[in-house]
């Protein structure tokens, strides 16, 4: 997660591919959450966001709150509807990237920082598509590093009410 945060802040910031801004950290968090579950996803999101806020010397907590929720939502999706679906990583990355873009603009607006909603929304759609493409490559890597999804372990538990 730290590597993804460093690469995101140092290498990928400012790069645009066909009008889209690559967000490797968000995609990594989504993939980790899909593989490991909502709780590790939320913790990874918080840690990654905190690292970004520290490295950019920005307002602490702004990125981490967004990425915490992103990781948790991706994890819940992986544990429920998206379990075992091959399209889950790109779909989750696409949707969460869109929501994170809108949420980021809203959050920065609420804390009084200068933001351009128009510019953010123009970039959000192509960035979400790029995130979906990135997820196709990042998900196998996360799977190899983190291991088999914990979410599948839950399937072995049978509970009758």
């Amino acid at each position: 997660m730290l590597v993804a945060a460093v690469v995101q802040v140092t290498v990928l910031t400012g790069i645009r591919v066909l009008g889209a801004e690559p967000d490797l950290l968000l995609v990594t968090i989504v993939c980790v959450a899909l593989v490991a579950g909502s709780l590790p996803g939320a913790i990874a999101g918080f840690a990654g966001g905190l690292a970004v806020d520290v490295m950019t010397l920005g307002t602490l907590g702004t990125t981490s709150i967004l990425l915490t929720l992103a990781g948790y939502w991706a994890g819940r999706y992986g544990e429920t509807t998206g379990r075992g679906r091959s399209y889950a990583p790109p779909l989750a990355a696409f949707a969460i990237s869109l929501l994170a873009g809108i949420g980021g603009v809203t959050l920065h607006f609420l804390i009084g920082q200068p933001v351009s909603a128009r510019e953010a929304l123009v970039v959000a759609a192509p960035s979400a598509v790029l995130a979906a493409v990135l997820a196709l490559g990042v998900h196998p890597v996360c799977r190899a590093f983190v291991g088999a999804p914990d979410a599948l372990d839950g399937a072995r538990q049978v509970e009758l009410v």
Binding site: T10, V54, M55, L57, L60
Partner: protein
């Protein structure tokens, strides 16, 4: 049948234990723990946001952030150095792909700027012409009893046989047939036809034109008519032989008037300069060639002289 087994499980023969009453299941506990942790992280983020704002950059959290940033700095520098060649390659490729579109864009921009330069020069010339017209309008040479209506020339003579122009003022602007038309240099002609927004002006060089005139230096009267060629566009006709007209004399409108009739042109409007004078024994009048002061072949804006008494009546 034990209490913790249902009838269904007994029938199916599956050995599944029901959670003991009063105790939460493992799944419920995991969900609660999960929500608790996520809620805690969100609250922690909000607390960090609040503290970051309140500390204003010099509190313990800010110090911790600075220290952590210092710790992470070497990683950032290393990543930056590793990524630099790739970033350069990306920029080079991006620039290569963008070069064609940049060239097209710059070419278009260049064309637009050239057009703007041309328009700017035209506007500058127009401004200069209008200033000169305004100077004439407010100067002592402007005839009394007239109002000057400055207007642009829309169409110029189409050929040698069409000695008229079209101006951008018509009946709606108060222009009427026979109104004199001048520039700051001199007489141009008179209005020969009007529409609501435009009017046709017959130039002095037209065969149908004639203006009573006089030589300012000798007071010799005559009638200005079209000349015989481009080198002598006008001639002063009906000048008596005894009149001492000389080359270089200035010809102006005479502006005669009687109780019932008056000249179309007011007195004193400059027409042209005498270029040659010829006398033969057989001719009844002196042959006087006149070059007009106004450049009738390059008119861009003119003044229509509108009588004030017509406007008041």
């Amino acid at each position: 049948m034990p209490r913790n087994r249902t009838a269904r499980t007994a029938v199916l023969g599956v050995s599944v234990r029901r959670p003991a009453e009063g105790k939460p299941s493992t799944r419920t506990t995991a969900a609660a723990r999960r929500r608790l942790v996520v809620g805690g992280l969100v609250v922690l983020s909000l607390v960090l946001v609040t503290i970051s704002f309140r500390e204003d950059g010099d509190g313990p959290v800010a110090s911790t952030q600075n220290a952590a940033a210092a710790v992470l700095r070497p990683f950032q520098v290393a990543a930056d150095r590793v990524a630099e060649p790739f970033r350069d390659a990306y920029r080079w490729a991006d620039g290569l792909f963008g070069a064609r579109s940049d060239a097209a864009r710059l070419e278009k921009e260049n064309e637009t700027l050239r057009q703007q330069v041309v328009e700017s020069r035209l506007a500058e010339r127009e401004n200069e012409r209008l200033r000169r017209l305004l100077g004439y309008l407010n100067g002592p040479r402007f005839p009394e009893g007239y109002r000057g209506l400055a207007t642009a020339v829309l169409a110029r003579p189409a050929g040698a046989y069409a000695q008229s122009i079209v101006i951008a003022a018509g009946r709606n602007d108060g222009v009427r047939v026979d109104d004199p038309v001048v520039t700051q240099d001199g007489l141009v002609g008179k209005v020969s036809r009007t529409s609501s927004r435009t009017a046709r002006v017959t130039l002095l060089t037209d065969d149908q034109s004639a203006a009573s005139a006089l030589d300012v230096e000798t007071d010799a009267f005559g009638i200005v008519r079209p000349g015989n060629g481009p080198r002598a566009p006008l001639r002063l006709d009906r000048v008596p032989k005894e009149a001492r007209v000389r080359p270089g004399d200035t010809i102006v409108t005479s502006g005669w008037s009687s109780p019932r009739l008056s000249s179309l042109y007011p007195r004193g409007i400059r027409i042209g300069r005498v270029t040659s004078v010829g006398r033969t024994d057989t001719d009844l009048y002196t042959q006087v060639q006149v070059t007009p002061f106004a450049d009738l072949s390059a008119l861009e804006s003119v003044l229509v002289l509108i009588p004030k008494e017509r406007e008041t009546s």
